[in-house]
Symmetry: C2
Subunit: 209 residues, 2 copies
């Protein structure tokens, strides 16, 4: 199974690296970092990553994963990126996104009339693109799977593992990455956070743009 | 606050990227990826990352974070790495590790007589280095902070955020990375997993070495 992890300037590293730690442990996975060119791609926290292949070199992956970005939002009008996602999705078994990466899927016309999730601060933005946005952590609309913000990609990847490779394999990988989370507070979603936290977090997101 | 995220060949990306998403959002953070040279460093899943500085260029960070590796274990006899960690720890306010990165701290003589945690499969290895290994997710022994395997770095970084910048800031960052985990199974630690899962996961880890 050839899995394309999509890189573009300013993407959020954890969106991609969380699932990557799971997917690379699939029995049959060949994971590749792809971008529009072989030039270094810099994450939103300034980490430069070297792509392993260009979009042209991997036109037909079995699965693709599009990460999000926060400052600014993912490049919804980046024609090479959006075109490749649209084309690759046509033949892929699974088309996935994390965080605001769902915006790229929507720009490629892949979420019309579909339920999808995204980062909480981008829900209205995605809704304005004609998507049925739901406040869930992971949404399966085969062959499209969307995850909520940043850290949700880990849960999505484990869910997918259970579907494709069975619960036993998913449990083993969960244990290997010692995924027994202990979040210090119960404020990880807007459904749980208090108003003051939501307001201050929103201001931080806006300030970073 | 100058934070050094340590890169070496074969390190586990999520060990570093999980905390990185939190630390880069601290109000005063200057996060840099450092390595023994400026050459590309490849993670254990084959992702090439370009370091921003060499050890020589950042001799005295305020905080350092050493990630782990699984196949093989982190390079405990890599003299430039271990020497720099020992020296940098001498002046740093916080010395942290994720997963088997604790082995590098131990090799640098920083864990003698201290309580520490690590990836569950490396507990005996770390114990054999004279460390008081405890089965916890995050262990504070100021100025040393150790986290359990891979995904535990996210919890450690949020704990540190609450200590250094207060609960309000930690809550905001937790919400920004939408850290409301939904692990599909309750098997993320060896204290919770069943015997069959532990045995199969151990075989996978050994096979990957």
């Amino acid at each position: 199974m050839r899995i394309a992890l999509v890189l573009y300037h300013g993407f959020t590293a954890l969106d991609l690296i969380g699932p990557c730690e799971v997917l690379t442990r699939w029995p049959d996975a060949e994971v590749r970092f792809v971008a529009s060119s072989r030039d270094l791609v810099t994450t939103d926290t300034g980490m430069p990553i070297s792509p392993a292949a260009t979009f042209d070199e991997l036109p037909d992956p079995d699965m693709l994963l599009v990460p999000g970005a926060s400052s600014p939002l993912p490049p919804l009008s980046d024609e090479p990126l959006v075109s490749w996602v649209r084309s690759a999705a046509g033949s892929a078994r699974w088309v996935t996104s994390v965080c605001t990466g769902s915006g790229v899927l929507a720009a490629a016309g892949l979420l019309q009339g579909r339920r999808a999730t995204t980062h909480w601060a981008f829900r209205e933005g995605l809704r304005s693109m004609g998507v049925d946005v739901v406040p869930e952590r992971v949404v399966f609309e085969d062959p499209v799977v969307t995850a909520a913000g940043v850290s949700a990609g880990i849960d999505m990847a484990l869910d997918l593992t259970a579907r494709l490779h069975g619960e036993a394999t998913a449990k083993q990988i969960q244990l290997i990455i010692e995924y027994d989370p202990r979040p210090p507070f119960d404020v990880g979603s807007v459904e749980k956070a208090d108003e003051a936290t939501i307001e201050a977090a929103t201001q931080r997101l806006v300030a970073a743009m």
